[in-house]
Symmetry: C2
Subunit: 419 residues, 2 copies
């Protein structure tokens, strides 16, 4: 059972927009046990769409088309599909009412040209768009029973059609195996060391359960995937192996499951402890505070942060002693420790995190090359401030993102008493 | 003259990575006057690659292949292409030396398996990789003279091959028209108002010069594109229309050209004035400071910032009066004005920017719904602080990004005396 994805639109071919739709659909289909045979991007031209359809229907049971359903002259997908399936366009009253009420609700004019969007092929099942105006079309090829589904290219509309209609129908029609995934979110340990630690579990996995290592900027996602006919049974199996991995890696290195952000985890812990947090940043320039405040509700525990980019401001805003800066430099253990202490005191919080480093590309010295970063975390309850030196890359953006993630991972371990 | 792009790799089909390569290549080819006929993503399977090649060579003069050139068993592009062009693999000494010195430089082991990467088809022109290990292969189909170029899928390696080899060779071989682009970066004015203002210029454009509006999160890119045979002549024409647009929109709304970031522009102005800057953020939670410090060299003018997320910290770190907060609330003109004044004083800088708003999804009230944001900018030289109210969206991420861009645009206008 294979599917081909066809994305229609000149704006994709000329690179004006990136085809994120195909990636998202590929992921969802893969998880649903449906193999993507090929992705094709073609222009808004009838002969090109026809050729792509011919080829796709030869090689797969399902063809999922996105794009080209708008009200303008460029949008020829619907007319082309109608001809391909020898069908007339007829006014669909239900869709026409949907479109009108959608526009009225948003105080937009109902132009005559928009009515063409309710003209739909009679030989397809028309599926209502709950998030926009262009309806989707579900065709079954005569004789073969192969499916062609045409959806709008607007990502959130397409996603709704996929999860509401396409995936459930295809799973039922083709009796695809259930695919179960579980993702364990790790931080604070390199991929190679994790692999070494969990070697025995990995080697004990049965052939139908796969383990993938997905590292990105200091965060490692361990994904267990299993496929089979009996959903409950494979869920239980995957959970068993997830528990085995957790026994080895949690709580120190596994901070959450299923794409949870580390800032979300930190927020949960702080809320549970009824505790407050402040940040004292230099080289990350505000990114750590931004990550923490990206979580809705963070105002409950995040009181504030300081970006002390100059030495003067490290002293002024955070009380780092000029002698410390003179003796050890801004990128040093002594400085990040005093930054934590200053943030706890000045912002009057339970916990603080600090960071100072040389993000690059300039500013490195033989003793402190580009990529040298110090991070520290501490609590108002204890005089002990934990500091760690990182030796990262030559790339400014990588250093900023990577040290942000590593600092957040260190903060989490402090909050849980795991340092 | 048409090109087909083939991206090889299961990881793209299952959506593990997004095909940003194809978008970038499409853009570059389009700019070089080469039309992209189709983009195909296929799996790491020989028959699938062969079919894609057959089809691509039927419909286009050039086929650009990315991916599948690594040292592992999955990577079958090279072997498949060698067979497709009836060619043997032979050891290429130059490439083998390149690979060895690349690995030695990075202190990585020279494994036996890596030698296979220097085994290359004899019937192609091998092109050295200046940024990695996998060489590229340039084939010319016998009889037709059609081109097949195979490159690694690693984005920065592919980009080097494209700009260094592919684009110049194709432009020469196919005598494509020169395409000239000029992008004007605008901020602080909506698309519709810009369109109204520049209507007469837009209507006067000759057919071979196009103007595109590319809006994103408060930044509007106006792109003039022209194609023709005589490069100097069309460059002069495009410049003429760019100047006409600037006469209307610059300096107030056009801040730069050719994808320049507004944080870069601000950095240039501050450096030229030998002036310093501080930020006082609430709802953007550090994103503005992060944007400013993303620019290498920003430590010359950015002294520091405060993320005053709680009311208490607005008072403590920025000296906002408790009476002001009580009377007007944290999201108010009076508060953002005092935040600017406090930042200038406490961080001892020439200029400061402040922001306070309700990013959402919670925290809105009937008087101050989600999306209400106040921004302000001021200078140490003047008592006048400029404040502006924004009414944005229901979406937290959009509100944070959009208000960041609008605040930076307002800061730029202050620096240039345009407020």
């Amino acid at each position: 059972m294979q599917a081909t994805l066809i994305s229609i639109g000149d704006e994709i071919l000329i690179g004006q927009i990136v085809n994120t739709n195909a990636a998202w659909m590929g992921q969802q289909l893969n998880w649903a046990g449906i193999k993507v045979h090929e992705v094709k991007v073609v222009s808004d031209q009838a002969n090109h769409i026809n050729n792509a359809l011919d080829d796709a229907l030869q090689n797969s049971e399902v063809v999922l088309i996105t794009g080209g359903l708008g009200p303008t002259k460029d949008d020829i997908t619907k007319v082309t599909l109608a001809k391909y399936f020898n069908s007339e366009l007829v006014l669909n009253e239900e869709i026409w009412n949907d479109i009108k009420s959608y526009l009225v609700k948003r105080e937009r004019p109902i132009l005559d040209s928009i009515k063409s969007m309710a003209m739909l092929p009679e030989k397809c099942e028309v599926i209502r768009n709950l998030r926009g105006t262009a309806a989707a079309m579900w065709f079954e090829q005569e004789g073969t029973g192969k499916i062609v589904m045409s959806m709008p290219g607007v990502p959130h509309e397409m996603k709704d059609f996929m999860t509401r209609v396409v995936i459930p129908r295809l799973q039922e029609k083709f009796e695809t195996p259930t695919i179960v995934h579980k993702v364990l979110m790790c931080a604070g340990l390199g991929e190679a060391i994790v692999a070494e630690k969990i070697k025995t579990v990995e080697e004990s996995l049965p052939p139908h359960i796969k383990l993938a290592y997905l590292p990105s900027m200091g965060i490692l996602r361990l994904r267990l995937s299993a496929s089979g006919k009996e959903e409950e049974k494979i869920k239980a199996e995957v959970n068993k192996y997830a528990e085995a991995l957790k026994t080895i890696l949690a709580p120190k290195y596994i901070y959450g499951e299923d794409e949870e952000l580390i800032a979300t985890t930190i927020g949960k812990i702080l809320k549970a402890q009824n505790a407050t947090l402040a940040t004292a940043e230099s080289c990350t320039g505000g990114l750590i505070a931004h990550r923490i405040t990206s979580i809705s509700g963070s105002s409950a525990y995040f009181m504030g942060g300081v970006v002390a980019y100059s030495n003067e401001q490290k002293t002024n805003l955070l009380g780092v002693k000029p002698e410390t800066l003179a003796a050890h430099g801004a990128v040093s253990e002594a400085t990040v420790i005093e930054m934590v202490q200053g943030a706890i005191k000045n912002i009057n919080v339970n916990y603080a995190l600090s960071i100072s480093g040389i993000a690059g590309p300039t500013g490195g010295t033989p003793n402190k090359p580009v990529g040298t970063v110090w991070i520290a975390v501490g609590s108002a309850n204890s005089e002990k401030v934990f500091a760690q030196k990182l030796q990262l890359t030559q790339n400014r953006d990588v250093n900023v993102t990577l040290s942000t993630n590593l600092a957040l991972a260190m903060l989490r371990r402090l909050l849980l008493g795991l340092l």
